[in-house]
């Protein structure tokens, strides 16, 4: 058979691609469950990191997460709780672009060792090269940021990628989302610039203008719908905080 005839070449390429495709599809299917588990665990780690809790090892991460995250909530933009089933907030796909009015906002309610209650709010936005996302832990005054964790898919190493590093994330600590009772988010700006709406601000990363702006926009866009919810948290005394488990049956 002539190796350089068109028929041979086309057949060769077709059979090869078909074979390789089948093998890859099979491997992908076989490894998928394990991979999903890893990704979920990584997300748990990010959420715990926003709460300043370190955990390593697959089992430990899951156990630690389940210990501190006491309830998952979905709220609407009026601050009403729509759903509070298990893992309902954890399973929300932040990539989906849902209209603001219909959006169900995930909240993870956490109780730390000292008994203080925090709310973790996921944020999702765009960096320079791809998506960036993060978790913002807010104190039970509904205003002060307790901690933040950011991740990215492919920001420039050494520049934009530094949003995923501790020193940058620590800047958010103790910043306030509300100024004089008005929701302002927290702005990420170059030194010397002032936020137009008077929001509290932190320093942007040198050499990562677009990524810094991305973080700033992501915070403003994703946290704004929570305004009503956070106001409810601010208004209610500790015991009536939305989502508190109240129907515990007391032993006789």
């Amino acid at each position: 058979m002539n190796k350089n005839s068109n028929t041979y070449q086309i057949l060769y390429a077709a059979v090869m691609v078909l074979l390789v495709g089948t093998v890859l599809a099979f491997i992908y299917m076989a490894l998928k469950p394990k991979q999903n588990e890893n990704i979920a665990n990584d997300t748990r780690k990010q959420i715990l990191s926003a709460l300043h809790i370190a955990a390593s090892g697959d089992d430990q991460v899951k156990a630690t997460y389940e210990k501190y995250i006491i309830q998952d909530l979905l709220v609407d933009n009026q601050g009403n709780i729509v759903d509070s089933a298990q893992n309902v907030a954890f399973d929300v796909d932040m990539k989906k672009n849902v209209k603001l009015a219909e959006r169900q906002l995930p909240v993870m309610k956490c109780k730390l060792d000292d008994g203080s209650v925090k709310y973790v709010l996921p944020v999702y936005g765009a960096g320079l090269w791809g998506p960036i996302w993060g978790y913002i832990a807010v104190n039970d005054d509904g205003n002060t940021i307790y901690g933040a964790n950011f991740s990215h898919e492919g920001e420039t190493p050494g520049l934009g990628a530094r949003i995923a590093e501790q020193p940058f994330q620590d800047l958010f600590q103790d910043k306030h989302l509300f100024v004089d009772g008005q929701f302002k988010s927290v702005a990420v700006l170059k030194k010397g610039q002032k936020a137009a709406n008077g929001a509290e601000q932190i320093d942007a990363l040198t050499g990562a203008t677009i990524t810094s702006r991305g973080v700033s926009d992501m915070m403003a866009d994703c946290l704004a719908p929570y305004e009503a919810f956070l106001k409810k948290v601010q208004a209610k005394p500790q015991s009536e905080i939305p989502g508190e488990i109240t129907n515990v049956v007391k032993p006789e």
Binding site: Q9, Y12, A13, I39
Partner: protein, 207 residues
Amino acid sequence: MLSKKNKEALFNPLSKDNPVLVQILGICSSLAVTASLEPAIVMGISVICVLAFSNVIISFLRKTVPTNIRIIVQLVVVAALVIIVQQVLIAYNYDVSKKLSVFIGLIITNCILMGRLEAFAMHNSPWPSFLDGIGNGLGYTIILVIVAFFRELLGSGTLFGFHVIPQWCYDHGYMDNGLMILPPMALITLGCIIWIHRARNKDLQEN
């Protein structure tokens, strides 16, 4: 099993014909993944696997591959193997796969691979090709590990993530050199290794 020619295929790439030091191939990834030892070693193992198996597969196919589309065939084989390595890493070593991120995918474009496939596997039988793949992969890995050793030690004071520089050094004013973590120092370290290597192997020196 290990005739003279086979031994050459396996051991020459370790020093005299090292892909990084002598052929200056695969530089980009050896700069990018050598900030610490663990990713360097995982990257090295990944390259060894992909290189050895793609060499064997191409060597088996070498008599059937149509000359006109041989590069495409080689690329498909390499790409398939790289995807397998990447998926396995995501499933069994997620943290490292996150650290290596794009570089595993970029093994496809690693010049060592296409170079060995074209130069060796297309003309030799599977067993020598396998040895050649292992040899070249090892040659690449050794350099990666040497560079990563110095960068992690001087840049972070750690090896495999464990602190090895004692605290009293820091107390007496020693500081980790942050520049070692950045790519420029990887290039300079690599340059020093090439310098030492050439100085010891006079026959490699150009006039």
